[in-house]
Amino acid sequence: MRRSIFVPLLRWHFLDFHAEAIVYLIRLGYRVGECPISVAERTAGRSMYSFSSLFHYPLNTGIMALMAVVQAKLMQRRPAA
């Protein structure tokens, strides 16, 4: 992530910088790449995700992604403060 990304990211609010942040940056004209990572399997504790997360996380992220499109369009119209 480059320094120039910080300003647009700080000008709006996100839900833990999930998919909506990527949608928002792409709509603002930034280039987004993909880097593969490897995630170690959890060895202790309990998952923070429950059965209801299956429904409300996609819904929340979907709403935020939709709002990110609207917000990016509004930001492009508005001159930078």
Partner: protein
């Protein structure tokens, strides 16, 4: 027919309002999604043909549906909920800002805060009454 259109129009108005509140950050998206689901549910119920709805409600509860007043009451409850959730979001945002500011201040001052003993309520009252800042 007119009442159905009115219910749908009010619902869509609420829908747009809640989405805008979520966009502005005035309502947390988790609350927003619950509200949008409720509004969507009310609109769907309003669009079900009256005879089906009457048959279903009477079969399920024995209470005949009252039509428009019931839907308007549901919208009034939703309106109150939106207001409450907006305030809850504002309080949570203030708390988050306060926590962030405290963390920044602690990081700036380093160990000077840690070196001091925690100030009790009685001590802080005594300091204020003697004109000293805490």
């Amino acid at each position: 027919m007119i009442s159905t259109l009115a219910v749908v129009a009010i619902g869509l108005l609420f829908f747009g309002w809640v989405l805008n509140l979520v966009r502005k950050g005035s309502v947390y998206v988790g609350y927003g999604s619950a509200l949008l689901t409720a509004i969507g549910g009310i609109i769907c119920i309003a669009l079900i043909p009256a005879q089906f709805l009457e048959a279903f409600v009477q079969h399920a509860s024995g209470v005949p549906p009252r039509g428009l007043p019931v839907v308007l009451a549901a919208y009034s409850i939703l309106l109150a909920l939106i207001y409450v959730l907006k305030e809850v979001t504002a309080i949570s945002k203030r708390l988050r800002t306060l926590t962030q500011q405290l963390a920044i201040e602690l990081a700036r001052h380093g160990s000077t805060f840690d070196a001091e003993e925690p100030v009790t309520k009685a001590q802080s009252v005594a300091r204020i009454s003697h004109g000293r800042s805490v």
